[in-house]
């Protein structure tokens, strides 16, 4: 018995050691070109002048997606831009339960403000309430809480608006080209998510204004390889296509690869989110990708700035109100070749 368990410990240790060794001998620091609000110059913006010290607690899921990675990097970088902000990040763990525990730990440390991107707004509603009850204002990033009492500020992107923007761009382009009965493809992300359904609903509504509809819809999973598989299936189903909306630029890497592999170019494509690679490609104008509709992780930078103002009891200088508003929904913007330069710094 003891010999056996000793052996198990030995092998377990060997496995852990091997893992550590593997990690140690790779080096690939991704360059985290985070988006920092340049509006932190005190001479131009009185709000930027150093004020009361604010401790900002931060938690976001540790997901494998470029967008979430950008959210965390942006928050960190923005906090570093203010000398009066102390940034306390807590790893949110793998699921809602783990994040709830992380938030309890955070609340116990009594930060001035908490900024969180919940795993799921509904499941973390109680965690938001708990923090608010403890007198800590909560800033909800992107995934709304059902109870109004669970947050001080909600800042999020506009999924429905993203679909609308993509639909309008495609509608306008096809109308300009006088295409009757166009064949339009759609590659959404994970189909069971509310955000995907909102995006698709917006897209459908906008296309309907032009009398168009989606001819084929193949969901992917926000990853490049699933995007490649979905696009391959879609291209096979539609031997001729006029336009394509792909909801997410990360999976778009795979979508564009599939388009190149099948030598197709008779249509134009619109992306989603606004990644740096996509913006560069739109600017270069050498592929079917002609536009992308934003859902920018820059919202994390703005959330930190607003958390600081809330902590210091200040309002937004361009608004009349003395406090920061309760809800902010970012507009989804359409990036094309013409304005790609202006958006280049917001790409993630």
């Amino acid at each position: 018995m003891s010999a056996l368990s000793r052996r198990r410990i030995l092998f377990g240790g060997a496995a852990v050691g091997a893992g550590a060794l593997l990690t140690a001998c790779t080096s690939n620091e991704p360059d985290n070109s985070a988006q920092v609000n340049t509006n932190t110059d005190a001479s131009a913006n009185p709000n930027a002048a150093a004020g009361e010290k604010v401790v900002i607690g931060f938690t976001a899921p540790a997901a494998d997606h470029g967008w979430i990675a950008a959210i965390t990097n942006n928050a960190k970088a923005q906090a570093a831009a203010y000398p009066d902000v102390e940034f306390k990040a807590v790893e949110a763990g793998a699921d809602a339960a783990a994040q709830r525990a992380a938030i309890s730990t955070l609340v116990a440390q009594k930060p001035t403000v908490i900024v969180m991107l919940p795993h799921d707004g509904k499941e973390l509603d109680s965690a938001g309430l708990e923090a608010m009850k403890a007198g800590i204002p909560v800033i909800n990033l992107d995934r709304a809480f059902p109870s109004q009492a669970a947050f001080r500020l909600q800042i999020k992107g506009d999924n429905y608006g993203m679909g609308l923007a993509a639909g309008h761009y495609i509608g306008e382009q096809l109308k300009a080209k006088n295409v009757a009965n166009p064949l339009i493809g759609e590659i959404p992300g994970i189909d069971s998510l509310e955000l995907t359904q909102e995006r698709s609903a917006g897209f459908k509504t906008a296309l309907a204004e032009y009398g168009f509809k989606v001819a084929n819809r193949r969901p992917a999973e926000f990853t490049a390889d699933s995007g490649q598989a979905a696009a391959t299936a879609l291209l096979q189903a539609l031997p001729k296509m006029d336009a394509l909306w792909n909801h997410d630029d990360d999976q778009g890497i795979g979508v564009l690869a599939a388009i190149k592999q099948t030598n197709r170019s008779e249509f134009f494509m619109v992306g989603g989110a606004g990644s740096k690679a996509a913006i560069d490609q739109i600017k270069a104008d050498n592929s079917v990708l002609k536009a992308t509709v934003t859902y920018s992780p820059s919202m994390a930078s703005s959330a930190i700035s607003l958390a600081r103002l809330i902590g210091q009891g200040k309002g937004m200088s361009d608004l009349v109100e003395l406090q920061v508003p309760k809800e902010i929904t970012l507009a989804s913007e359409t990036i094309t070749k013409d304005n790609a330069d202006a958006y280049a710094k917001l790409g993630f």
């Binding site: 056996l4 052996r7 198990r8 092998f11 377990g12 060997a14 496995a15 091997a18 893992g19 593997l22 990690t23 790779t26 080096s27 690939n28 620091e29 991704p30 985290n32 540790a62 997901a63 494998d64 997606h65 470029g66 979430i68 990675a69 189909d191 001819a215 084929n216 819809r217 193949r218 969901p219 999973e221 926000f222 990853t223 490049a224 390889d225 699933s226 995007g227 490649q228 598989a229 391959t232 299936a233 879609l234 096979q236 189903a237 031997p239 990360d250 890497i253 795979g254 564009l256 690869a257 599939a258 190149k260 592999q261 690679a277």
Partner: protein, 338 residues
């Protein structure tokens, strides 16, 4: 189970019966494939009336089955050998991510392929080592590896999608020697090597013996532990090859790639007639299993049907295949005997 594994020195009669059974099952799967194609023709006659499209569609189905097909060959060996490998998707991810780091990419295509294969095999070897010598149940060991390898992949990639800038790697997916995609050639090569390995070598014989009755295999002088370890390394090797194929298709790699490949590979092996308890299975059957899934995906795509229905159909086919395996084929083979 009445279909007990034949030990290596099985009588010729039993051998014959097993062969009949496998042939029958494979014919059944070919029947399913033909049925799916007929449904395709019936629902989309306009597409199927264009011969160029039909040829392309056929190649697309094969191409989309290629990476998962390679993984399934390795999985089939592991299952026949009495184990299970839940970490294949994660191994593809770690191999893909490792081979596309900026550091690895600087060594060129050869370096990337070498890295993917070495990393895949090494992770498989760790699995096999823990299972054979650490006496962990393969389900648990590979479950742990599934989580850990994805974690390591996320760590290495910094949770970013790593774009492959190597044109040689990226061109693998678009190259078509003799009009057939290179990816399909790779799948064909892996299937042929796998078939020969399983059916024509002592390694294959030992795999069946170890899976059917490890104690008997041990008494017969087979080094069961070493063999088990090699089987998992083989699965890892297949994952390494698949990682390069998938990286080339997506021109990138990331920690979340090859999501749920373990389930697709197990399902394909099972409907191909591989016994989950080990000791029996065929490479050709597993290949047909993969093709059935790939054809269903294609059929649903050309008809613009939602993927949730597709998943339900896939589930139904898995259950049906296992049920048929349990009841029908026994009686059918009896019928043919008489």
């Amino acid at each position: 189970m009445t279909t007990q594994t034949a030990p290596p020195e099985a009588p010729a009669k039993q051998e014959r019966r097993k062969l009949d059974e496998n042939t029958l099952r494979n014919l059944g799967l070919v029947g399913v494939l033909i049925l799916l194609i007929i449904v395709g023709i019936a629902t989309k006659p306009d597409l199927y009336s264009d011969p160029t499209w039909v040829k392309n569609n056929f190649l697309t189905i094969l191409q989309q089955a290629s990476a998962i097909g390679v993984v399934t060959v390795g999985m089939t060996f592991v299952i026949i050998g009495g184990g299970i490998d839940l970490s294949v998707g994660a191994i593809v991810a770690i191999a893909g991510v490792w081979s596309t780091t900026l550091a690895t990419q600087s060594y060129g295509a050869g370096g990337m392929i070498f890295t993917a294969i070495i990393v895949g095999t090494a992770v498989g070897l760790i699995n096999g080592f823990l299972i054979a010598y650490g006496r962990l149940v393969s389900f648990i060991a590979t479950l742990a590896m599934m989580v850990a390898a994805r974690g390591l992949a996320a760590q290495i990639s910094g949770k970013q999608t790593q774009i492959s800038t190597n044109s040689t790697i990226n061109d693998i997916a678009s190259t078509r020697p003799l009009g057939i995609p290179l990816l399909v050639w790779i799948l064909a090569a892996v299937v042929i090597v796998g078939w020969v390995l399983l059916n024509r070598t002592t390694f294959g014989r030992r795999t069946v013996a170890v899976g059917g009755n490890p104690e008997a295999a041990r008494l017969a002088g087979i080094n069961v532990k070493r063999h088990t370890m090699l089987l998992f390394a083989l699965s890892g090797l297949c994952c390494g090859i698949a990682a390069i194929m998938l990286t080339s298709q997506a021109t990138s790699a990331q920690a979340a790639m090859a999501n749920l490949y373990e389930l697709d590979a197990i399902a394909a092996a099972i409907i191909g007639g591989t016994l989950l308890s080990g000791g029996r299975g065929t490479i050709v059957g597993a290949l047909f299993g993969v093709l059935v899934f790939s054809t269903i995906t294609n059929l649903f795509a050309i008809n613009n049907l939602p993927t949730e229905v597709q998943n339900m159909v896939k589930g139904g086919i898995i259950v049906a295949a296992v049920l048929i395996q349990q009841f029908r084929f026994q009686s059918l083979t009896q019928l043919f005997k008489r």
